[in-house]
Symmetry: C2
Subunit: 179 residues, 2 copies
């Protein structure tokens, strides 16, 4: 649950698409998002089925419990179709720290700056809710190097490294950005 | 939720009581534990009401969802009365890492080694379930020094310090023990 996912989001080529009226950001969650999230996660080829199930479960939790689930979502849409999303939420027992749990961009929309745009939308939403810090946990494995580069490019710094956290040889890297 | 609580558990005086037949350890959860947990947390004078509510919520979650809640409990009982407990669980998306979420000892049973005995029961239970690492997150504040001393005494080492995580001036300290 605490392992945000992002498949090769390198926004090196910042497209106007993500800043134009083409992309809209929706902060509400619909029943149809459940399938959209599952399909998008599968399409990326980045996640194993256990991870897809967790991604879906977060949507289900939000639909069932509303804001008290602790999960907030922002969906990026183009022509009414979900092409990316983030899942984040306040960290219980903290004054103003938030977690970014999940961030995914549809394969055909990658390398166009949508990942960065979603991050900025998230940071604004967190700030608006009184949040002062965003934490992101990810893997230290080679597969996640583009993910880590992406976070670092957007001003997130390494706050902690937990050796062998996910599995032997698979460290947890904790990033933080002070808003 | 990820902030284990333990009020001055210093087991400096290890009493035979905790090793004797007087104390029994129950790994199942009952409806009556909800009230027992709330009362015990309040009696310690260590927790604010928001924290007591979180402690209760974990019991409620476990009662509603069973093992799939992700929360395991061990209750220490003396003459049928709950005098301490731990709440712990496997960390999602990890191979064999577990979190210790909560550990509380009844005020009249403190300084008798019950905290340490509960930790050992937990470690055995985690090992039995294939767990290889136990993580404990706690506060860097002065109020929590006895808590930190307690963990360090029982072989837990600092894996990470997250500055200002809980609030300005209130760091999160992550402990780990490799089983």
């Amino acid at each position: 649950m605490n392992r945000p996912k992002l498949q090769d989001p390198d926004p090196a080529i910042t497209s106007a698409a993500c800043r134009s009226a083409e992309i809209t950001y929706r902060h509400t969650v619909r029943e149809s998002d459940r399938l959209a999230v599952v399909n998008m996660c599968r399409e990326t080829g980045f996640f194993h089925e256990g991870e897809v199930a967790v991604a879906e479960e977060l949507v289900v939790e939000r639909l069932a419990k509303g804001p008290s689930s602790g999960y907030e979502f922002i969906f990026a849409e183009r022509n009414g179709t979900v092409v990316g999303y983030v899942c984040f939420g306040p960290i219980a027992c903290t004054q103003s720290s938030w977690d970014l749990y999940w961030i995914v961009v549809s394969p055909h929309m990658q390398r166009m700056g949508l990942g960065g745009a979603l991050l900025r939308e998230t940071e604004q939403a967190v700030k608006h809710r009184g949040g002062t810090r965003i934490y992101i946990e990810t893997s230290g494995r080679e597969q996640y190097r583009p993910t880590r580069n992406f976070y670092e490019k957007h001003g997130y710094t390494v706050a902690a490294v937990l050796t062998d956290f996910y599995a032997p040889g698979d460290d947890k890297i904790v990033y933080v950005k002070v808003l």
